[in-house]
């Protein structure tokens, strides 16, 4: 138990940005979006499970998806996909020893691209 609680304390330091450089934000974003996307996957499977309870149950559930709160949730999933995916590309590239001295610039570019994509998706989702 003590070892486990020590691990939790030590792992909590992953999310402490004090005295860290920009690339730690990349590390934190990847961990948080990965946890979010994993949670979403379970949620997605549960909602698909509504199909097994017949068309009425599924249609009733789909009505929920029209609420603004649900749309915000969907946008959060889109944001997580873009940020995790683009940051992931940076990590794959550098893991092959390519452009390692430029990883910071690649991270900034990836995040700017991601934010542009999120804004475009957000505008389409909330104005369509």
């Amino acid at each position: 138990m003590n070892a486990q609680s020590n691990f939790i304390v030590r792992a909590a330091r992953w999310f402490d940005p004090r005295g860290r450089s920009l690339s730690t934000w990349g590390f934190m974003i990847n961990r948080l979006t990965a946890l979010g996307l994993t949670f979403y996957l379970f949620l997605h499977l549960i909602t698909l499970g509504q199909l097994a309870q017949g068309p009425d149950a599924y249609d009733n559930f789909l009505k929920l998806t029209e609420s603004p709160l649900y749309k915000i949730g969907e946008l959060a999933v889109v944001a997580a996909v873009f940020l995790h995916g683009l940051n992931g590309v940076r990590i794959v590239i550098t893991s092959f020893g390519i452009a390692v001295p430029r990883q910071r610039e690649i991270f900034i570019s990836a995040m700017v691209l991601g934010l542009i994509a999120i804004i475009i998706f957000g505008l389409r989702m909330f104005t369509a």
Binding site: R13, W14, R18, S21, S23, T24, V100, P101, Q103
Partner: protein, 251 residues
């Protein structure tokens, strides 16, 4: 006349078996002094029970690594001006991820043991012709002769302290050790590739690159870890097509 600043030096204090606390000392300082000068003055004029490590005062021994305002620094080359403003607080703490022995001193024995494991040499020899002419020191060495020089890595442990993965996974070899393996040369000692090609080796690195950001000696551990990965993958591909190579590597 030298510029004078008034700052508060906030020092982490912890003796074995005691609870950690901070000691605050108001000081008049010259902003161009280095942080280690302030720590020495705190010991000399305020509290002789303060424990800290230092030796060379010119970034060669790697003994005075500490966290200064949360950031890993070699305090002998970190000017006061670069980390605090006039009237501000300068916080010094021991390195993370190592057990605290006393106050600002940590036990880095595990790091040194692992550096030995990968065959890191504190002194290297370079062939005269391997050094670019503009960086070749003046001396009698001719092509074919060796220059002896200190290794870039001074084993200060700053990268191990800054690495969040080493923080949660103490079995991870860590950036200094992997960089040491890269510097030792897997070409000369192929068994090093087997050692680093493991869950606690190069594959545990999560590309945070804090190691490179804090390294005071331009070792660039992040780049070296990625280079090691490239060599490991290259070696694996080679062994697919050349079984004899497998036998050589696994020796």
């Amino acid at each position: 006349m030298a510029e004078k600043w008034n700052i508060t030096l906030k020092i982490y204090r912890q003796k074995q078996g005691e609870k950690a606390h901070y000691q605050e000392i108001k000081m008049d300082v010259n902003p161009d002094e280095n942080v280690i000068d302030l720590v020495e003055r705190a010991w000399a004029f305020h509290d002789r029970t303060l424990t800290f490590a230092h030796a060379c005062h010119h970034s060669t021994c790697g003994a005075c690594g500490m966290r200064v305002n949360d950031r890993e620094k070699l305090t002998c080359i970190t000017s006061v001006r670069s980390v605090v403003s006039n009237g501000g607080t300068l916080k010094v703490e021991p390195l993370r991820n190592f057990p605290v022995v006393s106050d600002l001193v940590v036990d880095m024995g595990e790091l040194y043991r692992r550096m030995d494991l990968v065959g890191h040499q504190p002194v290297n020899s370079d062939r005269a012709e391997a050094i670019q002419p503009e960086f070749r020191p003046a001396g009698p060495a001719e092509p074919g002769e060796d220059f002896i020089r200190l290794s870039d890595c001074i084993e200060c442990g700053l990268c191990m302290s800054a690495c969040p993965v080493f923080s949660s996974t103490p079995d991870y070899l860590g950036p200094a050790v992997l960089a040491g393996a890269h510097q030792a040369g897997p070409e000369k000692n192929p068994s090093l590739l087997n050692l680093v090609d493991s869950a606690t080796g190069v594959w545990r690195c999560h590309s945070v690159f804090e190691c490179t950001a804090v390294c005071p000696s331009n070792v660039d551990p992040g780049w070296r870890i990625m280079e090691l990965r490239r060599k490991v993958v290259g070696d694996r591909i080679k062994t697919l097509f050349n079984p004899r190579k497998t036998a050589q590597v696994s020796k």
